[in-house]
Symmetry: C2
Subunit: 339 residues, 2 copies
């Protein structure tokens, strides 16, 4: 299938990367990974087997990385960040398992999904297991404030998923409604992961809020780019499949803008392929062509830049240094993935 759109527009210069962030907290992250393996143990072999399948499937561990980096940025000297970062990854993994069931996804990061291998029931229940395990980790940490932050985020994520379900296949979904969904289903956990790092370091309210804001805006930018990548040729190099959202009839910003900017014939097309999901060969290419004509992938990246700029400014309260630099580069990395 020939998909020709590239979101490239950068000139030369060094590519932004999360390597600096990774190397700053490498030892902590190794501990988090060990904790994850240890904590998904169970006397029921299917649990570590299924959970291990998705947890070991090559994710970037971006959310736990944020907890580790936020704690480091705040000068935290203890060890609580390790357990809490594992907890954040468990919450994330639980939602991925449930997402794949809801979306009936067969592939994630190029591998078979857990629901494909073990079925929907097992995926739902192991997701529940990871979710309750996350709560056990929070309780083990023992801070009511951390519990409040992470349990609120979990509840907001669940609300966001339900809201997404309600708007799925509805081509008249507004950009505002879409932003609400991604703020809930993606950005809330980014925000909580960051805030927790400041809270365990016992930093003043302004710094906790600044890190939360960094996380929230980074999360929105990240999801916007994810949604653009689903229609971009860059995806292949990232181990993503072009057109997954399209096949599922997901209503993301590139579609919302194309629908609103399109004429009657184009809207009829969008309704056929995304509402009724009657998709024929070359429909995806046609969809991408419409997005190109109306500049909706470009503008989705443009919208992401706005949230990236807000995330960067949120860090302004913190002194310059390698951790702050790495967090700023993480914003750039999240957006430049589109290039």
């Amino acid at each position: 299938m020939a998909v020709v759109v590239s979101l490239d527009r950068s000139g030369g210069g060094k590519k932004a990367s999360i390597e600096p962030l990774l190397s700053l907290v490498r030892e902590d992250l190794d501990r988090v990974n060990a904790e994850i393996v240890k904590r998904m143990e169970s006397r029921i072999p299917l649990i570590p087997q299924l959970a291990g399948h998705i947890i070991a499937s090559g994710g970037k561990r971006l959310r736990p990385l944020l907890t580790l980096a936020a704690a480091r940025l705040c000068g935290y000297q203890g060890t609580r960040q390790v357990l809490l970062a594992a907890c954040v990854e468990f919450i994330h993994t639980a939602t991925l398992l449930h997402d794949d069931v809801v979306d009936a996804s067969e592939l994630r990061r190029g591998r078979q999904t857990a629901n494909t291998v073990w079925g929907n029931e097992a995926s739902v229940l192991v997701g529940d297991f990871l979710f309750t395990r996350a709560f056990q980790l929070m309780i083990e940490d023992g801070s009511l404030e951390v519990l409040r932050i992470l349990s609120t985020a979990s509840s907001v994520i669940a609300e966001g998923e339900v809201q997404q379900l309600m708007t799925s296949n509805d081509t008249s979904t507004s950009e505002d409604a879409y932003l609400e969904v991604i703020a809930a289903k993606t950005a809330a956990l980014f925000a909580a992961a960051c805030r927790v790092g400041a809270v365990i370091a016992d930093r003043p309210r302004a710094e906790c809020e600044a890190l939360e804001s960094y996380g929230r805006n980074l999360g929105i930018a990240f999801q916007l780019i994810d949604d653009a990548l689903d229609y971009s040729s860059r995806s292949a190099t990232l181990g993503k499949n072009v057109g997954d959202d399209f096949k599922e009839g997901k209503i993301t910003l590139p579609v919302i803008l194309a629908f609103r900017r399109g004429d009657g014939a184009e809207r009829t097309f969008w309704k056929r392929v995304l509402e009724r999901r009657e998709q024929k060969e070359n429909d995806l290419e046609h969809a991408i062509g419409l997005m190109e004509r109306h500049g909706t992938l470009r503008d989705t990246v443009e919208r992401a830049r706005h949230y990236g700029a807000m995330a960067r400014d949120a860090l302004g309260l913190f002194a310059a240094g390698p951790v702050k630099d790495a967090l700023v580069e993480t914003i750039e990395f999240s957006i430049e993935r589109a290039h």
Copy 2:
């Protein structure tokens, strides 16, 4: 006082204006103005006197204009828009009266404020009167849905004002918190004013939400530019005073960004002038210099453009035509005021 920053960056080309919007609904607006005069009557002469002072003080009637234009865009053929637009203006005027008391403002649009002329007590109470009169107008209209939309907006505005009070003089206010405040105190009424137009025209949910979204994003852009103008030389030509927010220690985005981007000495300055409000001659010039150095006025306009772009896309569902064009030009007008 020499204030040298201009936000100008536009090249040639025609200036955007709200004239096209005004001329499209001129007759309706005349009816609204007549209704406003009629409805602020009372056996207590101070009420129309004080209310008339602020209502006749040269505002653009932007919010009632939006209700009229939204109804027109939706092909509404009745007359309910007139009363509801007057209602929207009453809600707005009530909040202005109370704002001026809270801020102890002496001037608004170059004229003495009502609280300066008649005192705080009278301003508070006439504000309450206008607010209850707005409810009477809604009830007279008789639609529970319209009542719900406008009363929710009124409540959100009040919440936003309280939230602003809580964050006032706090230089560590985050951009997120600021956005929440302006979404509540300004954008909620823009959103409701627009939505009401679609609701009385009995349009489908998607169109009601689209107009609400247009209003909300326009309102955010509008307030961002207002806050930038408070530090810009363009203000003089708009009948605004440069530095009012500064004198009151208001924490708006140009300040938030300057504080976060500034060094230790600069933050000490911002705390002195805005938290402790110990202001000396030339402090405003120094503040504007810092904003210039960190590009915070430019970036406030940049942020406004993002919301402007969202407002424009929200209108995508509606067919092309003079009303839609005028609403798009109103976005441009709201942002270009900064030029």
